[in-house]
Symmetry: C2
Subunit: 341 residues, 2 copies
């Protein structure tokens, strides 16, 4: 059986669910970014033939589910569960994207940390014997997110220098009780951290303390040294949040600057005018499903700590003067079945 000590945030797995397939479909801007070659598909139109951005976002998720099942060479009904979420009100990208799958479904919401939450719950369902195969999917869409969280695109509003650019895309993975890796070896479940940041145009700064809290708990709980991992990769802190996370951890004796990368900084080139970097439920999901999984499968990376980060705000909470609660979920992914601490 697995170990999770009372009062600790980290669960050490013993059966090591394997990530047997991934798929990613992105939008036109992501398809011109530095990771373009790693995605399965880049569509050239944000509508992708649909009548609304929301319907297009559902299509991204539906098509990613079909693609990842096909890449795993399995039938759809070999999935025991689909776990999925997105940023839209009432998670409609997931609900409408998954509705034809006919698979038992758990909808989740962790803002941009959602893919990390999905991987943890999926791994737990497999480890506990509830499932053999679980699909985890998330999506986001620049246009549907701007419309919902910020301003009508037609206004052409100027963006704040610390603002991030919501990734258009969906990433999916299939976890399985059997497979030849990479494996999920342990995970650290985040707590909500709210340090009082109110600026929704600076979500990197809001999320950084949550990322630092979870990363700190991971090393505290496991006794591992940060350089056990080849890379520690956060979800979408962007330029501003990444620097704050490094500083916060460094002041607590954990130095990870050489190991730390961020999906929001990897998916776009600084010339693409995205200001502080990418964000959205689709950011960490597509960078993992595209680039990181490829690097793991090819042995260029052997052990990573993947830490998707989420800002749990809504336009209503911002308008009511609330601060921004944040969360980060860490998942260790390794090519060998991992040491037990």
């Amino acid at each position: 059986m697995l170990e999770k000590k009372a009062g600790k945030q980290t669960s050490q797995l013993q059966k090591f669910p394997s990530i047997i397939a991934t798929a990613s479909i992105v939008g036109p801007k992501e398809g011109k970014g530095p990771l373009a070659d790693y995605f399965d598909q880049a569509v050239d139109d944000e509508f992708w033939g649909e009548k609304s951005w929301e319907k297009a976002e559902s299509k991204f998720m539906r098509e990613v589910l079909a693609k990842v099942v096909s890449k795993a060479s399995m039938a759809m009904d070999a999935l025991d569960f689909v776990i999925a979420g997105d940023l839209l009100n009432q998670c409609i990208a997931a609900n409408f994207g998954i509705r034809e799958s006919n698979i038992p479904f758990y909808g989740i919401y962790g803002a941009c940390s959602t893919i990390g939450e999905a991987m943890q719950l999926g791994a737990a369902l497999i480890e506990g014997g509830f499932a053999f195969n679980v699909a985890c999917l998330t999506s986001s869409h620049f246009c549907s997110a701007e419309k919902q969280f910020r301003f009508p695109l037609e206004l052409g509003s100027q963006r704040h220098p610390t603002a991030q650019w919501t990734v258009t895309g969906s990433g999916g993975i299939i976890l399985s009780a059997e497979g030849d890796g990479p494996y999920i070896t342990r995970f650290t479940t985040g707590k909500i951290v709210d340090m009082g940041i109110k600026d929704q145009n600076n979500m990197g700064a809001a999320m950084a303390p949550a990322a630092a809290d979870t990363i700190y708990a991971h090393f505290e709980d496991t006794g591992l040294s940060p350089d056990y991992y080849d890379m520690i990769v956060t979800g979408d802190l962007g330029k501003v949040g990444k620097r704050i996370t490094e500083d916060l951890l460094s002041s607590n004796g954990i130095r990870i600057s050489k190991l730390l990368n961020d999906c929001g900084l990897m998916i776009f080139d600084s010339k693409q005018d995205v200001h502080a970097g990418g964000s959205g439920c689709g950011c960490a999901a597509t960078v993992f499903a595209g680039f990181l999984y490829d690097r793991l499968k090819k042995g260029k990376l052997n052990r990573i700590l993947f830490v998707p980060t989420g800002a749990l705000l809504s336009p209503t909470s911002v308008q009511q003067g609330e601060t921004i609660p944040c969360i980060a979920h860490a998942v260790a992914i390794e090519n060998t079945k991992g040491v037990n601490q």
Copy 2:
């Protein structure tokens, strides 16, 4: 180990997590309904001293978490996880209600089925050894829901005869690896079912096929006869949805009319002018945490199948002409540790 056969929706537990405490706080209208005596508290003002309905809804959840932990005679940090959700955009009632708890958190979204989803995931985390104690909470609020999903309350819009009344309240439960029951013995995870209903004023009719689908799968998977249970209690189908569910199951050879009840019909009196009945994430949660748990603890009920139901729509999806995808999650709760099929 537990059993869950491939292609089946039902998980049979073997360790039987115990529901060791529940708590419920409701609004003024619910506090005048037939279940008034079973709730821990009924507040007499929808604002509950806060400046907005959304902040009040967060307070319901925060206070229910404090209360259920206190009723379980445990410290907050004895919880391994909190799993929570609500109806508000980006689930802010849960995110803001839980943020001071300092407990590892999984946010979920299953519309009004959310408490069923939380109980399933909580039971799975305990059964798999990931947790000893898990809190599951949901909330809804009539005023914040009307404002978000329907019309400004100030308009005094006339309500449709098939419309339901969102419950103001929050219900919470604590699941534990040890306890003297009632126990979660098995659960059936819902699939998304969308039969093409577009009328958001008739969500009972939209949700009925999802309820029937999950209840049918439960008996098909387990081989149990419906009268194994003392009561089958759906979440918030209301008058219209309950009748359709009975009809759908009856035409498939499953007759449960004498056993079937619905939280949306139990929480309000027909004289309270709620039309088809109550609804919302808080409906099934408060009726379970208040009334049903009391009946189980006192042996008035010994085996129930609790089936919270959710309509996975959003105002945006309705405005874009989409139909309403729905889901229902079934949880078997019994005073003895249950038969293994």
